[in-house]
């Protein structure tokens, strides 16, 4: 047996072993975070992020172990789609969670979105009321100009 080849083999085995253990640790981090964090938003951090790294490490380990070049493009595509979709789903859940008040306000040190959402909700309610009474919006209560903000409720 060629000693050179076995040395390379041992190295890839070691690297993929480390990758798999760390990748599994990241999945564990996500699980612990889900259990320990207090509200939906901080749980989203745990549920979506360490797992991206965990998947990357596990896919890399698979690629190293299979030792065929043609799995790499497939693994790369799998990871890229994960990277593209994870922030979108996290954003959608976070956005819905914020609006349905699934968060602990007392744990926020600052909330710069609350004022914008409240203002936009006020405006919408006023518009609805005005429409219901057949009056023009802003006749009864003075609607403040929100500076062209498009945050919707």
């Amino acid at each position: 047996m060629n000693p050179d080849a076995s040395a390379v083999d041992a190295l890839t085995d070691t690297v993929s072993a480390v990758f798999m253990v760390v990748g599994a640790l990241m999945s564990l981090a996500a699980a612990v975070g889900l259990l320990r964090f207090p509200d939906l938003m901080s749980r989203m951090h745990a549920a979506t992020k360490p797992q991206v790294l965990g998947l990357f490490l596990l896919l890399a380990a698979v690629g190293l172990q299979l030792r065929t070049w043609w799995v790499w493009p497939a693994l790369f595509v799998a990871w890229i789609f994960q990277v593209l979709t994870v922030p979108v789903s996290a954003h959608m859940v976070g956005r819905a969670g914020y609006r349905t008040k699934h968060l602990h306000k007392e744990l926020l040190t600052a909330d710069e979105l609350e004022a914008v959402v409240l203002k936009s909700a006020d405006k919408k309610a006023a518009d609805l009321r005005a429409k219901g009474n057949g009056r023009m919006p802003g006749e009864k209560r003075k609607t403040d100009d929100d500076g062209g903000s498009s945050v919707s409720v």
Binding site: A29, F37, S42, P73, A110
Partner: protein
Amino acid sequence: MSRRRISLRQELPLLVWLVFVWGALWQDFSPGNLLFGALIAVVVARLFYLPPVELGGRFSVLRAVPFAIVFLGKVVAASFQVLYLAVARGPKVTNAVVAVQLRSHSDLMVTATGHVISLIPGSLVVEVDRSTSTLYIHGLNVRNGEDIVNLRKEVRDTEAALIRIMGTKHELAALQQEVGA
């Protein structure tokens, strides 16, 4: 057709990506398979028309490679930070929702910045105000005003790096003026 035509040059990144996915799925990168894939990519791009992504018209590989490495490093560091927070702090962790005004108004830049920021654990985009290109970001473990300033700076720095990679010439000039000032 009333739709704005998009040039082949603008569509090329999409077509190259589609051909790559085709090759990866078949696990076959022979010329014949790629040619057939390219044919299907063109047909798909023509039939299922999507609004064109307005690219900046430039892409700096020299800046993209270090950015990718720094990005991976940040993901690793921040993943361990989330692990530590989950185990050590748990229910007592404090957060904040921070508004960050971006420089660029292009959809591509706002989306790319939001994606990169969301992928680095510890920050999550809750809301996007497209008209003023403001991102509202939920930050994990933000304890005081100093942390808020740091978070805002990190988002702005990420955007600056992305502008250097693929922003328009106009955005790049504005950025350089800002840095120089």
